[in-house]
């Protein structure tokens, strides 16, 4: 797989801070992968998102060293406008993202394309497509500010997706949503993954991360402390020591192992847990029968 986001020896300090948030941090994210950034609050997850989308160093100044490239181009050399076309950023709080100038969901979702100078008939076509994809057609004439949090988060996602950025950076999209809203957001993320978009996701719900991620990056105190696939990172008890949860299924598997009930592998998803425990129970039944 070909790298799309490359961070090399990044050292960064916020303008008024007295210490670096990152020192010599390096990270490669490949095209088409869903990379989840996990770690305790305050570890630097949102700052890393801001580095990837070029908000650092373009908007937040401070002491910035090292190189961040998107598709081989240094973010320092790109303008905020160029970066925005390549990288769509979905805010944690959709109320912060909504433009406030649109009276309807349809207008809100059109806003980005209008600013890009896309032709009107093309805008209508693309907005229709995205409304269908994100299942918000029924909300098209509603005022964005009259929607529930879950509905508004889908509008926020649609407003970004419609611009067809290659990379999506999504910062805690579900922390204020109910289970239904959370599922709807992940349904959209899944569809973006199928469209081979590169997705950088910050999220606390580990069971969902385990379900969808290709690549996990655990950061704590500004350092990448673990990195790898779901199976590599989300079965590692070290994650807990870094103030971060593991999926319930991994916690179960680890605890069973500790009590001498060895599973073939530590499961991270519900399906893996079902398969592993079924196999374990069958094996034990056979052994007892003999």
């Amino acid at each position: 797989m070909e790298p799309i986001i490359e961070i090399r020896n990044l050292t960064y300090r916020y303008p008024t801070a007295d210490k670096n948030i990152f020192t010599n941090l390096s990270l490669t994210i490949h095209r088409g992968e869903l990379c989840s950034i996990i770690g305790p609050n305050g570890a630097g997850k949102t700052t890393l998102c801001n580095v990837i989308r070029g908000f650092i160093p373009h908007f937040y100044k401070g002491d910035f060293q090292g190189n961040v490239t998107i598709d081989g181009k240094n973010t320092k050399d790109l303008t905020i406008g160029e970066l925005a076309l390549k990288i769509g950023f979905v805010f944690q709080n959709p109320f912060t993202q909504i433009s406030g100038v649109a009276d309807t969901v349809f207008e809100e979702v059109s806003f980005g394309l209008e600013n890009m100078g896309v032709e009107a008939s093309k805008i209508r076509e693309r907005v229709e497509e995205v409304l269908a994809l994100t299942k918000i057609e029924s909300l098209r004439d509603r005022n964005p500010f009259e929607l529930s949090g879950g509905q508004l988060q889908r509008v926020a996602l649609a407003s970004i997706i419609v611009m067809e950025p290659e990379i999506l950076v999504i910062d805690e999209p579900t922390s204020q949503l109910d289970p239904e809203g959370t599922e709807e957001v992940f349904e959209i993320i899944k569809q973006m993954k199928e469209k081979k978009k590169t997705i950088v996701l910050v999220e606390h719900k580990m069971e969902l991360i385990a379900e969808y991620s290709d690549h996990i990056v655990l950061i704590d105190d500004g350092k990448i402390v673990l990195e790898g696939s779901c199976e590599e990172v989300l079965t590692n008890e070290q994650v807990l020591k870094h103030g971060t949860l593991l999926p319930q299924f991994a916690m179960l598997g680890l605890e069973m192992n500790k009590q001498g009930m060895r599973l073939g592998r530590i499961p991270v998803t519900e399906k893996q847990a079902r398969d592993e425990i079924t196999a374990f129970l069958e094996y034990r039944r056979r052994v007892t029968d003999v």
Binding site: N41, Q92, G150, P179, Q248, L252, Q259, L281, R284, T288
Partner: protein, 271 residues
């Protein structure tokens, strides 16, 4: 028989005619901890706002420690029932954490010494003692939520309602929260938690109320609630991950947590 906190045949209709609760009855005792679950729009927050007097019932009565909320102002009731909003930004309005937490005790006309004591104890309990001089708006959302929790605790109410306390919390935040609830209950406070986080319910609450379509549709032992498929289906709620797994493996009913699951697996061995 009257409970410490009771909603008796409550209906609530918003001024715009929208009916949010229909004939709901709840009884909660002193020192009890109760989780309220259900989808958005089920009436959970409306019920909570009836308990702290922000809403007054359209029909029926709400009793708190012998007071009928209709006969008291919201300000008076807030001495007895504290409500921590889902969104801390609906609640915070000071530029210093200390002032934010001290606001309630000051309004209760406590002495300077008492105010300081309450602020420090509350900050200690939610583990933000080092942040008292900070501006709340410079803190992350997850910590701002603890600031608002401390503001309510510092008023020393008998009932504390937490609305979606686990949203956006990391492992440490969840542990702190569980610990705060334990301490409050030890002090004989009643803690009512509205939440979508079923793992948090499973590990911290023995009693759960389920709300759906403007009604309370179940109230009882958390174990029984999470294994009552009909109720969960009606409420549109999913049980904790470990319960779901147990169910798909055909294990015994009533499993909520990893420890229950492992105990059961051990028994299966013998059986």
């Amino acid at each position: 028989m009257s409970s410490f906190l009771s909603l008796e045949n409550i209906s609530f209709v918003y001024p715009n005619g929208h009916s949010a609760l229909e004939d709901v009855t709840m009884h909660i005792e002193k020192g009890e901890r109760v989780a309220i679950i259900g989808q958005n729009g089920a009436g959970k927050t409306t019920a909570a706002k009836l308990m702290n007097g922000l809403n007054k019932p359209t029909t029926g009565d709400v009793w708190i420690d012998g007071w009928n909320t209709k006969e008291y102002t919201t300000a008076q009731i807030s001495r007895k029932v504290g409500y921590v909003f889902q969104n801390p930004d609906d609640q915070i309005f000071h530029h210093r954490v200390y002032d934010e937490i001290a606001f309630g005790p000051k309004n209760l006309k406590l002495s300077e010494q008492e105010i300081e004591k309450n602020v420090h104890e509350a900050a200690e309990m939610v583990k933000i003692r080092d942040l008292l001089e900070e501006n709340p708006y410079d803190l992350p959302l997850s910590i701002r939520k603890f600031v608002t929790t401390a503001s309510v605790i510092a008023m020393n109410p008998q009932v504390i309602i937490l609305d979606e306390p686990t949203a956006g919390q990391d492992k440490m935040g969840l542990e702190t929260l569980a610990n705060v609830i334990d301490q409050l209950v030890e002090q004989e406070k009643t803690v009512i938690t509205i939440t979508h986080d079923m793992e948090f319910v499973a590990s911290n609450f023995h009693r759960t109320m389920v709300m759906a379509h403007r009604n309370k549709i179940a109230d009882g032992d958390t174990k029984e609630i999470f294994w009552n498929h009909a109720i969960l289906k009606e409420a549109g709620v999913k049980p904790p991950y470990i319960s779901r797994l147990s169910q798909s493996l055909g294990l015994k009913e009533g499993i909520l947590e990893i420890s229950d699951f492992i105990e059961q697996i051990k028994k299966e061995k013998r059986g």
